[in-house]
Amino acid sequence: MPPRICRAARACALLALTFGGACAPRHPPAAPNAAPAPAFRFVDVAARAGLGRVILAGRPEKDHVLDSAGTGVAFLDFDRDGRLDAYVVNAWSLDGATVTARGRNALYRQRADHTFEDVTDAAGVGGEGEWGAGVAVADYDNDGWADIFVTTFGRNVLYRNLGDGRFTNVAPALGLETPGWNTAAVFFDADGDGWLDLYIAQYIDCTLEDVLKAERTLSWRGLEKVAFGPFGLKGAPDRFFRNVAGRFVDATDEAGMKDLALGFGFAARAADFDDDGDLDLYVANDSDPNYLYRNDGTGHFREVGVMSLCAFDGKGAAQASMGLATGDVDGDGILDLFVSNFSEDFKTLYKGLGDGFFSDVSAETGVGPAVYRQLSWGAALADFDNDADLDLVIANGHIYPQIDRHPEIIGTYRQRASLLENRRGQVPAGAGETLFRDVTAEAGPGFDVARAHRGLAVGDFDDDGRLDILMSALDGPPVLLRNEGASGAWLTVACEIPGGTAVPVGTKVTITAGGRRQTRDVASGDSYVSTHDPRLHFGLGRTEMVDEVLVQWPDGTRTLRTNVRARQILVVRKEEKSPTGGPLEPTRSGRH
């Protein structure tokens, strides 16, 4: 494997060359009497970093819901040079019933100076002329190189990474094209055989002809005619494919994942929600109950969303779910779940109760009311100020441009992304304060611009220990929000399986530092049709030493590192001997 080394210092120096010294050294000494740097400050550097290709989005008036669906983004390291690259999915533009342009997806390779070069043509990953929707990055064939799966309104594309900077589309040969309106894709090892299986969510059963001939017929408050749907349109079934040594077999029914309700699937995430050692799957449906597929440990599932209380909001109502984010927001060691929804509705934060059960805590945590008016899509729970808790970023943007003619009602079509600060440990119990506080207005110029945001991925692209944000927006270029906030110490853990998968989905890392225990997992899915940086980032506050880093690999084995200094990218390889005498025993017997 090429070196994926800690290069924070070098990164900062290079960043200084690129961005005028803003990060050299990383925390420059404050001038006397200078105001302290704000905890949150983001600047959009997409244009100067070279992320410029406009993302097409149907017609200007968004006559069909597809025009408004937007596309996904991904952070990945496709060439294994240790630097995060970016992939941005593109759609088409229409003029009435005429296709005026087929947008090309873009692969941006990061240079050493943290600018990007467009290598789409050389890599051959432009999207095959399909109307792109989402992107999932994984190493489906376990050859050590990250592959790119692009969901589409059309035929999906699986770009197999050839390892020399080029890719080839293997979706037709592998039977993964699944024609239709595909949205989220989640690679995860459902059956513990070491191969990543694949869940593909679908949205509406419609044809290109339906899209081209669409007219705005739905009355919005008696004021405007807007795009019709999804109510009144037929849902399309989600699919599940088992990966059998690099070949895919449709196992939707056999695995217990038949989409009987034909929910309008938009987002999905694999995680061990019930903490029993296997990966479950949550699916967020627009306007329909959400699904939670509980894994029985053999790759067979039971849909338990209703009894787990994460199918509906706290009042028992199905919501128009668009995206999701997972993480332990309250530090109790149990995964919580955030689901983004339509405008004029609470965005729902489900507190994990343990064993895969949830309770809607949107109101008391402040999350619900903070973004009540926005229409929310991609999201992530991540520690942006490095204070050892998970903040929440949300990509917002409405689907009806027509609401701009009535801004007094619910606001505008273009909306600012939202940033909610987690104040765990800062809020006295019973003080009437909420766990989350909306800090969007104080998060810097990057959060000042209203756009029709959709996809969102989080990653530390410049390796400075502060998490950055990549977003897509309709009819505009991507947005790359560089984090320039004054933050605490940090640790990033890069998990590697030499000779195995390049993206060890499901690997869980728990660190203990400063009296706090934090857990992250290598995600697949999450947000809205997007893929985060696979490296796991931890904010540490003022703690400069991590007592313990425990890596739980997908096969159940564990690796322990102790007394790890902060402010580095720690690479943990699976075979590594731990200081306590080598790889630990599997956590569970029998399955692995």
Partner: protein, 187 residues
């Protein structure tokens, strides 16, 4: 279901009779042909009967599911008496599933049909929906009842992880009460 052929035949017959009568008589006040009225009347019976049938069918689905829940509750009690924790867990989890399905007026397969009806513009309880009493497409179970049963479903599912007889009885009583009060008497 209405047979399209029958309707079409009635319409043709009506037109023929209308033309024939028009040719042989003096001008008179236009009136809908009696045959068309009769056909429409029959169609109305069918439409109204279909609505009643939908209600009865959903009640049957709910009753069957409730029966299933009763059986699982009994099975769970037996398992608890026999100190068979695994069997108790399985039975209580099935019970939780059944109660959840009562809350949602059926499982995901039924939800798919309900969605299809909504897509076609059919609302069983449009007035109740407008008043905020029913969710879209729901026929019997109100929002309030749904919430009660969802809470019970989760409580039972959590109980399945560590089954206890007293807790089972307490939660089952809540389900019985919601059923008796809000669903069993529905017509």
């Amino acid at each position: 279901m209405i047979r399209r052929g029958a309707v079409r035949g009635a319409a043709v017959l009506g037109v023929v009779l209308f033309i024939a009568s028009d040719a042989s008589t003096q001008p008179r006040t236009p009136a809908t042909p009696a045959e068309m009225v009769a056909t429409y009347d029959a169609l109305a019976d069918t439409i109204l009967a279909a609505n009643k049938a939908e209600r009865k069918l959903v009640l049957s689905i709910l009753s069957a599911t409730y029966g299933h829940a009763q059986a699982e509750a009994a099975r769970a009690r037996q398992a608890l008496k026999a100190n068979d924790a695994a069997a108790a867990t399985a039975a209580i989890e099935n019970l939780a599933t059944a109660v959840g399905q009562i809350a949602t007026e059926g499982d995901n397969a039924v939800a798919g049909i309900r969605k299809r009806l909504l897509e076609g513009g059919h609302h069983a309880n449009s007035e109740g929906e407008a008043q905020g009493v029913y969710e879209e497409g729901y026929v019997i179970v109100t929002k309030a009842t749904k919430k009660e049963l969802l809470d019970s479903s989760q409580a039972l599912a959590r109980l399945a992880r560590a089954p206890k007889a007293e807790a089972l009885e307490a939660e089952w009583k809540k389900v019985e009460a919601a059923w008796t009060k809000n669903i069993a008497g529905a017509k």
